[in-house]
Symmetry: C2
Subunit: 132 residues, 2 copies
């Protein structure tokens, strides 16, 4: 069940990387390519203690941009707010992403002391366009 | 003449889109997929009056992320500051980008009243990695 339109869902469910943008303590922006998922909301999976997690705990305002790898003129820009940061389900979820993005049952880059965390994002503005 | 390392230059000179991040008036981030270029600095070409231009006039702090379309595990995250916003050379520059990205001599999406503008970005932090 998703409130997103079909074209955007295609972007979010492809092997496309999103640029996930968070704000640093001084208010300047930080962007990094990330795997992306969605339910009713947008999901980013990272590890506890990473910059992304620190930033969204400090300021919940985020942005994402994404385009279709096979047709970059199909793209979306999303602005939103982080509504939850949780380790619940995050380990299984990163395995799900690994399956989708790289065809592996288990996320292969876990380090021994790493704890995965889910960042749940409520989209507030979506600009979705297909120039192709 | 570029101060960027070879792998990053490959990213910046490919047909890869960058996510270009600017700050809105309220300090929240805005990200959009864009064509990208570089000299000693990073170059983004947009049109006068667009959100990107308005945002960087208000706050020069920007971020970019980029990955290789053919190998998204080769990626870079860049933080920097806008050091110049100029229409000088911007019309020719967008044609150069059109040649590189879509093989056309002239940028095909110019509207009659559009004036192109170059946003020149000094990179301050570059995180460049290749997991492939």
């Amino acid at each position: 069940m998703s409130k997103f339109e079909a074209g955007l869902i295609k972007l979010l469910e492809g092997k496309n990387f999103a640029s996930f943008v968070t704000l640093l303590k001084d208010g300047s922006p930080h962007a990094a390519p990330t795997w992306i998922d969605h339910g009713d909301i947008i999901l980013v999976n990272t590890a506890l203690g990473r910059l992304k997690e620190k930033n969204v705990r400090n300021d919940p305002r985020v942005a994402l941009s994404i385009y279709d790898n096979e047709n970059p003129y199909h793209m979306a820009a999303i602005r939103g707010k982080v509504i939850e940061i949780t380790t619940d389900g995050a380990e299984d979820h990163v395995d799900k992403l690994a399956k989708r993005y790289i065809g592996m049952d288990k996320y292969p880059r876990r380090s021994a002391d790493e704890k995965r965390v889910l960042i749940k994002i409520q989209a507030e503005k979506i600009h979705h366009q297909d120039y192709s």
